[in-house]
């Protein structure tokens, strides 16, 4: 399945939680391009021009977040949005996981997560929302559903 899919156009998939290694791996194995926060952060931390450790997000990045929400939205939310909204703008598909466990991945802020889901909805791209699996059976269904969603999108693209 993976090899066949690689010959197709590689669709870009936004994943939420945006740093979930499991989702990243699933999408990658399928042959699509996962859009992860790690990629965005890597670009920033490698930029020698920026000196705002640890993530090199600057106050001007945070102000960029005003494109999506008002100034009364906390700066931490706007900073996350400035980083992650770029991924949504680039995405062809999105996989969203509700209420995930801490180690599955997180952006640290529940309000940011909620708003990112809305931005996906607003963009009008195909997306799937899944419940975080709590046992082995649910985990199998979880993986099957994601693969089914990716397969369906491959066929329709």
């Amino acid at each position: 399945m993976g090899k066949g899919a690689e010959k197709e156009r590689s669709l870009k998939v936004f994943i939420s939680p945006p740093n979930s290694l499991i989702l990243y791996d699933l999408v990658k194995r399928y042959g699509y391009e996962p859009l992860s926060v790690m990629r965005e952060i890597e670009k920033k931390v490698r930029d020698p021009e920026i000196d705002s450790p640890p993530k090199n997000i600057t106050p001007s990045d945070v102000r960029e977040g005003l494109k999506y929400c008002a100034v009364e939205v906390p700066s931490g939310v706007r900073g996350r949005l400035s980083l992650l909204s770029k991924l949504i703008e680039e995405a062809d598909l999105a996989i969203l996981v509700d209420d995930p466990d801490f180690e599955f991945g997180c952006s640290g802020c529940a309000r940011s997560n909620e708003f990112l889901k809305y931005l996906v909805y607003e963009r009008g791209i195909p997306y799937i929302t899944l419940k975080y699996p709590r046992n082995e059976e649910e985990a199998k269904d979880f993986v099957d559903t994601i693969l089914g969603f990716l397969e369906k999108s491959r066929r329709s693209s």
Binding site: I57, V62, E72, V77
Partner: protein
């Protein structure tokens, strides 16, 4: 000694302010560190605490709090930071602060930041934390000895006092214009009142905004230059003769406000605010000018007014004055307007400052605004607590500086 400050926070890295936090600590010779936690620690929080924030960043804050409560890490001081206007963050910060204050004796301060927060905005808070740790022995001083001068260079007034063998023998204050020249003038007037020359003075202690530049006044005599939060609170406890037991010091200043809790004469927690001058003495000064009365008269007439007759509940000095002008145009009396302005300041102080500490009675009010009787009453009504205004309350900073510096004279 490098003071180790544990940072318990959410959002600083995504707001681009982490570097500013570290810079502020570096300026005052402190070191910021983040207590390490693992997944198990975070999971344990969910099991043990009947409060579960949805954000994992806030859950991590609670896990870090537990590492301190359980003694797995031993910071000298704690800095709590969450994003400004984040309700979930503010609730978590309150819980973390309360639990840490209940279970440890570590000095702690909170701050809510925006992307515009700079090191300078954090400096006073971090400097105060460092002083609480580094100068604990000095802050324990209960009596003044020798002959010392204390100068409190505030944003509005420069205050000074000379103390000799635990007695205040001279005091004076003049409006701050040019920091150094005015402090020098206050000192000359103090020496003249005490009929002394500078040679007789054992040491000078300085505090307030102008403390950095005033070191140059008499470099050989200035042995203490310390931030105003600890110095004023020490002076307040001394003047009110509350060096034993609990107290909360309230200082509504010209540019910012402070609330400091004390136990046995030692400050142990505080909040500094004043994002808007609407909650400061400056606002009352403008109101007094608009009403054509002095600040003292404003306080007197406020006692005869009814605050509920005027809608004045603004967080902004401009809107506050606009409320005042509109009310006067509608025929509101000076007394009611004066009372409303005092209540407005007290209300904002209560909402912004007192929520960041656990108030301990009695309340000791100090600073120039403590002389405004209407404000004393407004605070008393708002806090529903005893409010003590000690004698010479406006000189608490100067007296605190004179008292503390005497501890540095051999």
């Amino acid at each position: 000694m490098v003071v180790k400050i544990a940072q318990i926070s959410c959002g600083t890295e995504y707001s681009g302010v982490q570097k500013e936090v570290e810079k502020a600590a570096e300026i005052v010779g402190a070191k910021i560190y983040v207590p390490e936690v693992g997944l198990e620690d975070v999971r344990r929080v969910e099991e043990e605490l009947p409060f579960a924030p949805a954000s994992s960043g806030l859950k991590t804050m609670l896990a870090r709090m537990f590492t301190i409560v359980e003694g797995k890490t031993k910071p000298d001081a704690i800095l709590l930071l969450t994003c400004f206007r984040c309700a979930e963050g503010a609730l978590t910060r309150t819980i973390v602060r309360r639990m840490l204050q209940k279970k440890t004796d570590i000095p702690i301060v909170s701050h809510s930041f925006t992307e515009r927060t700079k090191a300078t905005n954090l400096l006073l808070k971090i400097e105060t934390l460092v002083d609480m740790v580094e100068k604990e022995a000095l802050l324990g001083r209960r009596e003044q000895s020798g002959i010392t001068i204390g100068i409190d260079s505030g944003s509005t007034m420069t205050k000074g006092a000379i103390m000799k063998d635990n007695e205040i023998i001279a005091y004076d204050w003049i409006p701050t214009v040019e920091v150094k020249a005015l402090a020098s003038k206050v000192m000359d007037r103090l020496l003249s009142k005490a009929n002394m020359s500078i040679d007789k003075i054992d040491a000078i202690g300085i505090t307030g905004y102008g403390r950095f530049i005033l070191k140059e006044l008499h470099p050989e005599k200035v042995k203490l230059a310390m931030e105003e939060v600890t110095v004023c609170s020490k002076g307040a406890a001394y003047l009110a003769e509350r060096l034993d037991g609990d107290a909360t010091i309230v200082d509504i200043g010209g540019a910012d406000n402070k609330a400091t809790t004390m136990h046995n004469g030692l400050p142990d927690s505080f909040s500094v605010g004043g994002i808007c001058a609407g909650a400061s003495g400056r606002f009352l000064e403008i109101v007094a000018n608009r009403l054509g009365v002095t600040l003292d008269e404003l306080g007197e007439i406020a006692l005869r007014g009814r605050p509920d007759k005027v809608m004045m509940n603004s967080y902004c000095i401009v809107f506050g004055i606009s409320d005042l002008v509109s009310s006067l145009a509608l025929g509101v009396s000076k007394e009611d307007a004066a009372a409303a302005s005092c209540y407005s300041v007290a209300e904002q102080f209560y909402e912004q400052q007192m929520q960041e500490i656990d108030v301990r009675e009695p309340i000791i009010q100090i600073g120039g605004t403590s002389l405004i009787k209407g404000l004393n009453k407004a605070l008393k009504d708002m806090l529903r607590a005893e409010v003590i205004v000690p004698p010479l309350s406006q000189f608490a900073g100067a007296v605190g500086a004179a008292l503390l510096v005497s501890g540095l004279v051999e």
